[in-house]
C-alpha cells in the first residue's frame, strides 16, 4: 500500500476498482488542522480526471499497472500488432485504443504500452513521426499567402493538411497528439 508520502506524478493506484495515474498533487496543511494531499488522478481506462483529498495516514492501493516499451509491427483488420523487444512477445491491440493517430503509425514505430492486470489499456506514440508524402495535388501557383493549405496523403495512408509547397516524395514531421503537420524535414 502507498501512503501520502509516496504520492508523485505518474504513481499508479486503484480507486473503486479502476486504475488511475497521479497527474498533479499538492501538500495542504492548515496550521491547526489535519494535513492532506490534494491530488488529481487520471483514469487510465477513460481518461477522466478526478480530484481527491488524501489525508495523511490514509492508504492508497497500488494498481497492477505495467509500462512496457513495444514496437509496432503491422496492422491486421482493425487491430494493431505490437512486439516487446525484450522477449519477442506479441500482443494485438484494438486501433480504437490508440485513437485517431493510429493512421500515423509506420512499421517498427517504438511505442509505450500500459497494461492493467496484463490487459493493454493505453498506447502512447512518440510525439513526432517522420512520414513521406505519397500523394498530393500541386499547389496553385500564386496562391501562397497566409495559411492556405492542401491535403496530402502520407505513406501510412493518413491524410493531413500541409502548406502548398509540399510535394510528393517530401518527408514531413507530424505531431501525433494533434495529427498536424509541423515542418518539412530533409532526408
Amino acid at each position: 500500500m502507498y501512503d501520502t508520502s509516496d504520492i508523485r506524478k505518474g504513481l499508479k493506484v486503484l480507486i473503486d476498482g479502476n486504475p488511475y495515474t497521479v497527474v498533479e498533487f499538492q501538500f495542504v496543511k492548515p496550521g491547526k488542522g489535519a494535513a492532506f494531499t490534494r491530488t488529481k488522478f487520471k483514469n487510465l481506462l477513460t481518461g477522466a480526471v478526478i480530484e481527491r483529498n488524501i489525508r495523511s495516514g490514509e492508504k492508497l492501493e497500488p494498481a497492477n499497472v505495467e509500462t512496457r516499451d513495444m514496437q509496432f509491427l503491422y496492422k491486421e483488420a482493425g487491430d494493431l500488432v505490437f512486439m516487446d523487444q525484450s522477449n519477442y512477445e506479441q500482443v494485438t491491440i484494438s486501433a480504437d485504443l490508440v485513437g485517431p493517430s493510429h493512421d500515423l503509425m509506420k512499421d517498427n514505430l517504438p511505442c509505450t504500452v500500459v497494461f492493467f492486470n496484463e490487459r493493454p489499456v493505453d498506447v502512447t506514440l512518440p510525439t513526432f513521426v517522420i512520414l513521406e508524402v505519397t500523394a498530393s495535388e500541386p499547389g496553385v501557383r500564386g496562391d501562397t499567402s497566409g495559411n492556405v493549405t492542401k491535403p496530402a496523403t502520407l505513406e501510412t495512408g493518413a491524410t493531413v493538411d500541409v502548406p502548398l509547397f509540399i510535394r510528393i516524395g517530401d518527408t514531413l514531421k507530424i505531431d501525433t497528439r494533434t495529427h498536424e503537420y509541423v515542418e518539412r524535414v530533409n532526408k
Binding site: 501520502t4 508520502s5 499538492q26 501538500f27 495542504v28 496543511k29 492548515p30 496550521g31 491547526k32 488542522g33 489535519a34 494535513a35 495523511s56 495516514g57
Partner: protein, 390 residues
C-alpha cells in the same frame, strides 16, 4: 564595463576579452585576465582555484545548483532578517534563544515532531518562551528553526524558520499592531515599498489591515454557521448542506477545515489586502484562552496574505488546570489515532501554576514572509538548500 571593485568571485563565462564574474553583489562584466577559464575562482588578477571538473557546465548548473535568482532571494532574506531585528530592538524586545532539542515537543494533534537523540526537535518554541514570561521577562522574541515531520509542499518545509514573540501584560490588539508594522517594515526593507507579491499580484500590506471574524468568513463564503459548541454531527450536516462532501464520522475540526479550505481560503487568497482572521471557535483554541464574554470563542487570530497563512496568535492560556486538561485531551486523541504520544511538559505547567502574566503571543513563518516580500511562490526557493538539495 566598470571595475569599481577588484575582481573576486567565480568566472562564469569568458567571451574574448570580456568575462562575467559572479560574486558578492551579483554578476558583473569585466575585462578577462590572461589564463582565466570559466569556473575558476579568482581574486584580483590571479586564479586562486582553477575549476577542476573539466568543462564548466555554466551558472545554475554548478555543483551547488544555486541559480542567480536564488542568490538574489537569499540576499533579500538577509535584508529581511536584519530589518526584523531592528524592528524588535526599536520596541525594546529582548532576543532569546531557547533549546531546539526538548523532551516534550508539544501535543497538538495535527503536528508530528521529529525524534532526535533522547527527545524531539521543537515544532515551536512556545513552551520554553512561556516559561521565560513566567520568570519575569515582559517582551521577548525569538528567530529559530522548527521541525515538523512529514510536512513538505509549496508552503511547507520540514525544517523552517519561525519568528515568535510575546508581550506580557498585553492583549491581542497589541500583537495585531506589532504584526502589521513588522510585515510592512520587512516588506519595505526588501521591496522598497509596503507591497508584497503573490503569484505575480501586488498586495498592499500597509497597516491597518482589515479584520474579519471566523464566523463571518464561514457564513459569507462557505454558507456555514459555526457556533463552536455544537456536536460534530451538526457541523457535518451544515457543511454538507453547503454542498461540501464530508464523511459521516468526520471530526468537528476536520469538518470545519473541509469547508474552510474549500471556500474560505480561496476567497481570502483573492483579496488584495492581508486579513486578520479572528475569534476562532473554541474547538480550535489550541493554546489560546477563551473569551471571558463568550466561552465558545477563543482569543486567537491568524494572518492570511494572498492565501498564505502567515501567522497565528493567541491570547495565552494561563490557567494551569485548563492547560493540563487540554494536554490530556490531546494525548488521548493522539493515542486513539495511533500517533506518537509525547509527554506533558510538567515544567510548563509548573510555570503556569507559579503565575504567567496576562500575555499575548504570535508565531510567524519567516520563510513565508520572505516569499511574500520577494514574490516567490514556493518555499524551497527562499531556503539556502531545500531538503532535496542536501
Amino acid at each position: 564595463m566598470t571595475e569599481d571593485r577588484p575582481p573576486r568571485g567565480r568566472v562564469i563565462a569568458v567571451d574574448g576579452d570580456t568575462a562575467i564574474l559572479r560574486g558578492a553583489g551579483g554578476d558583473r562584466r569585466i575585462a578577462a585576465r590572461r589564463g582565466w577559464r570559466p569556473g575558476d575562482l579568482v581574486d584580483g588578477d590571479a586564479v586562486v582555484q582553477a575549476f577542476a571538473g573539466g568543462d564548466y557546465p555554466g551558472p545554475g548548473t554548478e555543483v551547488a545548483r544555486l541559480p542567480r535568482s536564488r542568490l538574489a532571494r537569499l540576499e533579500a532574506r538577509g535584508v529581511a532578517l536584519a530589518a526584523l531585528r531592528r524592528f524588535f530592538a526599536a520596541r525594546d524586545f529582548l532576543e532569546v534563544e531557547t533549546p531546539l532539542l526538548v523532551p516534550s515537543p508539544g501535543l497538538e494533534i495535527h503536528l508530528d515532531a521529529v525524534a532526535a537523540g533522547r527527545g524531539y526537535l521543537i515544532t515551536s518554541p512556545e513552551y520554553q518562551m512561556k516559561r521565560l514570561l513566567s520568570a519575569g521577562f515582559e517582551r521577548i522574541y525569538q528567530v529559530c528553526k522548527c521541525f515538523r515531520a512529514g510536512e513538505r509542499g509549496p508552503h511547507h518545509a520540514g525544517e523552517f524558520t519561525m519568528v515568535e514573540w510575546y508581550r506580557g501584560y498585553a492583549d491581542l490588539d497589541a500583537i495585531v499592531r506589532d504584526t502589521e508594522e513588522l510585515v510592512a517594515e520587512v516588506v519595505t526593507a526588501v521591496a522598497g515599498a509596503p507591497k508584497a507579491r503573490v503569484a505575480g499580484r501586488a498586495l498592499d500590506v500597509a497597516p491597518p489591515w482589515p479584520r474579519l471574524t471566523v464566523r463571518a468568513a464561514m457564513r459569507r463564503w462557505a454558507g456555514v454557521e459555526v457556533a463552536g459548541d455544537e456536536p460534530a454531527p451538526d457541523l457535518v450536516a451544515a457543511v454538507r448542506a453547503a454542498g461540501i462532501a464530508v464523511a459521516d464520522d468526520t471530526a468537528w475540526d476536520d469538518a470545519f477545515f473541509a469547508a474552510f479550505l474549500a471556500r474560505v481560503e480561496p476567497a481570502l487568497a483573492a483579496l488584495d489586502r492581508p486579513v486578520i482572521l479572528e475569534d476562532w471557535p473554541a474547538p480550535l483554541a489550541a493554546l489560546a484562552r477563551r473569551r471571558p464574554d463568550d466561552p465558545r470563542t477563543a482569543l486567537r487570530f491568524e494572518v492570511y496574505v494572498g492565501g498564505i497563512e502567515l501567522a497565528n496568535a493567541f491570547g495565552e492560556l494561563t490557567d494551569p488546570v485548563e492547560q493540563r486538561a487540554r494536554f490530556e485531551h490531546d494525548q488521548a486523541i493522539r493515542r486513539a489515532r495511533g500517533k506518537p504520544v509525547y509527554p506533558i511538559d510538567e515544567r510548563l505547567l509548573a510555570a503556569l501554576a507559579e503565575g504567567l502574566p496576562p500575555s499575548a503571543g504570535i508565531a510567524l513563518g519567516f520563510d513565508r514572509l520572505v516569499m511574500l516580500a520577494t514574490g516567490t511562490d514556493t518555499i524551497d526557493q527562499v531556503l539556502t538548500f531545500s531538503s532535496h538539495e542536501l
